[in-house]
């Protein structure tokens, strides 16, 4: 609160100052979309307190009108036998990694889009269907998407999923940081329901600080690393764990933004003076062929 109000105060004084000097009468606009807002939000996932109740999975589905089993069925822990990935039917999943010692707990890890600060999906998307929003969310716009699925290839966390089963207007599906909810001041559905408050919602900057504070308070409890602080240029979702993240199937990633691959596609093409329109035509053609083949297959079934 203190931070917030101080910032508000600074903004207001800046405005007043501006008004007095008559330089501008427009209100100060917050950062444009492609510049990271310093107040962007994030979530700190403290996997050391997660009990794997999967309430977050249920809440996510319910909030996104995805079909779901009744809440009680989520107590069934047998799903943990297999490692799962988020897909078009579950935007988030919780996995379990067995306890290492007889007197410790298994580690449960919730997986969803990391909402990268330098999102590969945004860079890869040739029509700009993906965008990094001011509040930290990386969201997808169905009206712009042409279904090329470059985002799926580009994402270092393999998050975006494609509704392969849908023949007509299949959509890209991924955690949208509950953009529709946060827009109206609500918490993301998973954050709201989590009984253990594994998921702390706050300014990313504050969360990074909190994460390091926790590690320094309980060094025996935490592995000394905040996953997402620097990985691929930083992510809005940050993780704490009791052991090395590579043991929990977190990908080993460098600190420079990953999108190199996909940017190379666009920039490489531009470097050879192929006008974007030709690229779109080519890709569109490929898409059209693919789509036709797919629906053809489905008709045969």
């Amino acid at each position: 609160m203190a931070n917030q109000s101080r910032r508000d105060f600074l903004k207001t004084s800046a405005l007043l100052g501006a008004g007095i000097t008559g330089l501008t009468s427009k209100p100060v606009k917050a950062a444009p979309k492609n510049i990271l807002d310093e107040n962007r939000m994030g979530v700190l996932v403290d996997t050391t307190v997660c009990i794997g109740c999967r309430k977050c999975e249920w809440a996510c589905k319910t909030a996104h009108n995805l079909p779901t089993q009744p809440l009680e069925s989520y107590d069934d822990r047998s799903v943990f036998i297999n490692m799962r990935r988020p897909d078009d039917k579950s935007l988030t999943v919780v996995n379990e990694y067995p306890a290492q010692e007889s007197n410790s707990f298994p580690v449960n890890v919730k997986v969803q889009c990391m909402h990268c600060d330098k999102p590969a999906c945004v860079s890869a998307c040739i029509v700009g269907a993906f965008s990094k929003e001011e509040n930290g969310s990386v969201i997808w716009d169905g009206d712009k998407c042409i279904g090329c699925r470059y985002c799926m290839v580009a994402c270092p966390f393999q998050v975006p999923a494609f509704e392969f089963e849908k023949a007509l207007q299949p959509e890209i599906r991924k955690c949208d940081f509950c953009f529709e909810r946060t827009k109206i001041g609500k918490l993301p559905a998973c954050v709201e329901i989590c009984p253990m408050e594994v998921l702390t919602y706050g300014r990313r900057e504050d969360l990074v600080e909190l994460a390091h504070h926790k590690i320094s308070l309980y060094p025996e409890k935490y592995y000394n690393h905040v996953f997402g602080e620097y990985e691929v240029g930083g992510t809005s979702w940050l993780y704490l764990a009791s052991r090395d993240f590579s043991e929990l199937q977190f990908p080993k990633l460098g600190n420079s933004p990953a999108p190199g691959v996909s940017e190379a596609i666009q920039h490489g093409i531009f470097a050879y003076f192929i006008p974007p329109i030709a690229l779109y035509a080519l890709l569109g053609g490929v898409m059209w062929l693919n789509k036709n083949r797919k629906s053809g297959e489905e008709e045969q079934l």
Partner: protein
């Protein structure tokens, strides 16, 4: 200017029956800096040190002084589950064997033990994200132990579904008797050790409870919940040092020397006062608590088997010989005790001082009675 930290005398205060922080706590024998980060805390700026506050001043109450059942209904967000009826007393009783109130109440300023909601916000959406909200705090506290022994995280093990609540017997019955189900304790436990000349230690658990009158918490403190509640007993992976292994015994017994008083190569018998001390209790003292004679706590030596230690000097006038089962005849009845009984325990009498031809028990100085 550096202000001296004052040590005040402890003024006797009733610390129970108050909520929140004790108004007079500044007069207690506590350094201000234990809890406050500035030199002169004021009401407006108490500058209480930030969480975690585990190492701050903490008090413990007796389990019976704690609330019996708490209905946890401050979290209004969810309408799936009914408020948990938390058997606080049962947990408080168990905490006697763990770390006391502080097992859960990790911050207790001077005054009453304070509840979770004094610090943890009921709102999840909040600006201070440094400590979990109330819902998170409760669940982190409960689940940390509960899932340890059962591996169970089912919500319905604590919650009832809203609209389907049952009335639990323990919630409605009142009274202050213990509500933890009766604890089954072993009579004896055999420990196998790797001591060469004394592989076995036979520990008579029941004797320590019943005969020596020890409370559970006299030996079991700082236990983890899992110790009693684990479905599958978890073995500590750590190798304990000799000192740690003897810890429970060494608070009463000298475990540095005299190994053979516990270690042996066969099963040792239980405690026998006659064998250990030479003083048989079975005849007259069988029903007494140890503390009737051994009046100093944990001090069992020094009575030297002398009756007068407890009974004072006996004379022919103040001792009714009948209770020994023998009524003295008129002649013997007026002798001083020492004339016949040479030992301080007044056991076998000596006849030969006066009678050359008589001996006990062949000849009696009176008549046997029942």
């Amino acid at each position: 200017m550096k202000i001296k930290i004052l040590y005040w005398f402890l003024i006797p205060l009733s610390i129970f029956g108050q909520t929140k922080i004790d108004k007079n706590h500044s007069s207690q024998n506590i350094k201000c800096s234990t809890c406050h980060s500035c030199e002169i805390p004021t009401k407006e700026n108490p500058c209480i040190k930030p969480c975690p506050r585990e190492s701050m001043i903490r008090i413990d109450q007796k389990a019976e002084d704690a609330p019996r059942i708490l209905t946890i209904d401050r979290i209004k967000e969810t309408d799936i589950y009914a408020p948990v009826k938390f058997s606080h007393l049962a947990h408080a009783e168990m905490s006697d064997l763990a770390g006391g109130c502080r097992t859960c109440h990790h911050y207790n300023p001077p005054g009453n033990v304070i509840g979770c909601s004094e610090c943890h916000a009921t709102q999840r959406q909040r600006t201070d994200i440094n400590k979990p909200d109330l819902k998170g705090a409760y669940h982190q506290q409960c689940m940390n132990c509960h899932r340890a022994w059962s591996g169970n995280t089912d919500c319905i093990s604590c919650h009832e579904i809203k609209g389907k609540e049952k009335v639990i017997a323990s919630v409605t019955s009142d009274g202050k008797k213990r509500i933890h189900p009766e604890i089954k304790t072993p009579d004896k436990i055999k420990f196998d050790t790797n001591i060469k000349h004394g592989k076995q230690v036979t520990f008579y658990h029941a004797e320590h409870n019943e005969l020596f009158g020890l409370e559970c918490s006299d030996c079991h403190s700082n236990e983890s919940c899992v110790k009693c509640h684990a479905v599958e007993k978890v073995k500590s992976p750590k190798k304990l040092s000799s000192k740690e292994k003897h810890k429970k015994c060494s608070s009463c017994h000298n475990t540095e020397s005299n190994c053979s008083s516990c270690h042996s190569n066969f099963e040792k018998g239980g405690f026998n006062h006659a064998v250990v001390t030479g003083f048989d209790l079975t005849k007259y003292h069988g029903k007494l608590n140890c503390s009737r004679c051994h009046t100093t706590k944990s001090q069992f030596k020094g009575l030297k088997n002398e009756c007068k230690n407890c009974h004072g000097e006996w004379t022919w006038e103040n001792f009714n010989h009948k209770i020994t089962g023998l009524v003295l005849d008129d002649t013997h009845g007026e002798f001083e005790c020492e004339n016949c009984h040479k030992e301080a325990t007044y056991t076998k009498p000596e006849c030969s001082d006066c009678h050359e031809d008589k001996s006990y028990p062949k000849d009696l100085p009176g008549k046997k009675v029942k």
